[in-house]
Symmetry: C2
Subunit: 209 residues, 2 copies
């Protein structure tokens, strides 16, 4: 199970997203490949790492596949997540339905601005960063999401590491230095726009040519 | 140039993000592979589609590579982008520095709520959806970003298609029906959290075992 290649891990959430519209159905590797925009041999190879091979002429049972991918991604247990930096993006993520739907429970919202502390976002109050370490311990928070401006991101990451968080998702446009053993993922919200751009540039060239 | 596989296209923005911290330097395919979490043979293959082969023992010239990837992704011209749905997420995207940095000019912000129309987000005023079609034409908007609640997303997509937009980035948790020839990409903000979860589940299992 530990031998799943990182590139396959990166695709599993994409398969999961594509499959969400096909609950209760079966799906062929070709169809899933088209939805996920990879080739079907790769889909079959990826899913074989989960011990899933589908049925010839029928395809994969979607509900079972969703269960297998979810289990592999560790989504069958809930993870407690905190968000630090309650500007627009932090607030949007705090309210984002896709998180609880995927097993991510938002259990802490933090900001260093005393004017924000005590205000509610959804059903949860924003707390002061001064309480961060204690809250992480008390609520057993596992994943820290950084949505501060770039200039504060390193300080927040240091605080997360000191509090015992080992998995950090960074939306701030900053490179973070963390000790070995801490998993930092940087999210670039313009990634998908760049893919739009690729296809758009080609269709404009086609029309022109 | 049109023969670049979709899977490679998906990785180009990731390379670009990784390279942004190495301006003016050279980078080996191994190093870039590690940063992008793919294997180095794949990196070399992907970059060969751009006609970029690196220098043995030296690696790739980062600035040149950034230029080549940007050109390939159509990022060397600015695209005019509009955002429809000015809640927290729309507002966050409207202010997101990563968009103009990558050549995406936010040229229109729209909401159907008359209480939001006329308010400023950053330096731009929110406009009424009633003006949408005219604005798309006047400002030559190419890409539409949907950040409405799920229930309004289809209606907004229909409006975008009617206005002549052919590339849609959908942040709403909804499946959109669009005519052939319209490129819709759905962004799931929980994708990266799911990858966090994968590695976290394994490290928890390691510590327990």
């Amino acid at each position: 199970m530990k031998g799943i290649p990182p590139a396959t891990v990166q695709r599993l959430p994409i398969y999961l997203r594509c499959l969400s519209d096909y609950a209760g159905q079966t799906i062929s590797s070709e169809n899933l490949a088209q939805l996920a925009r990879v080739n079907s041999a790769k889909v079959r190879k990826d899913l074989s790492f989960l011990g899933s091979y589908g049925t010839r002429g029928v395809g994969y049972d979607v509900d079972h596949l969703v269960y297998q991918i979810s289990r592999e991604l560790g989504l069958t247990k809930d993870w407690a997540v905190c968000i630090v930096g309650m500007g627009n993006l932090g607030s949007a993520l705090a309210r984002y339905r896709g998180f609880p739907d995927r097993g991510f429970a938002i259990m802490g919202l933090f900001d260093s601005d005393p004017r924000k502390v005590g205000k509610k976002v959804g059903s949860r109050e924003i707390e002061s960063l001064a309480r961060f370490k204690r809250v992480v311990k008390d609520r057993d928070l596992s994943i820290g999401v950084i949505t501060t401006p770039a200039g504060s991101a390193q300080e927040v990451a240091d605080r997360m590491v000191a509090a015992g968080i080992t998995s950090i998702l960074n939306f701030a446009p900053a490179v973070l230095k963390v000790p070995d053993g801490i998993d930092v993922r940087r999210v670039d919200l313009s990634t998908e726009l760049q893919i739009c751009s690729f296809y758009l540039a080609r269709s404009v060239a086609d029309r022109a040519g």
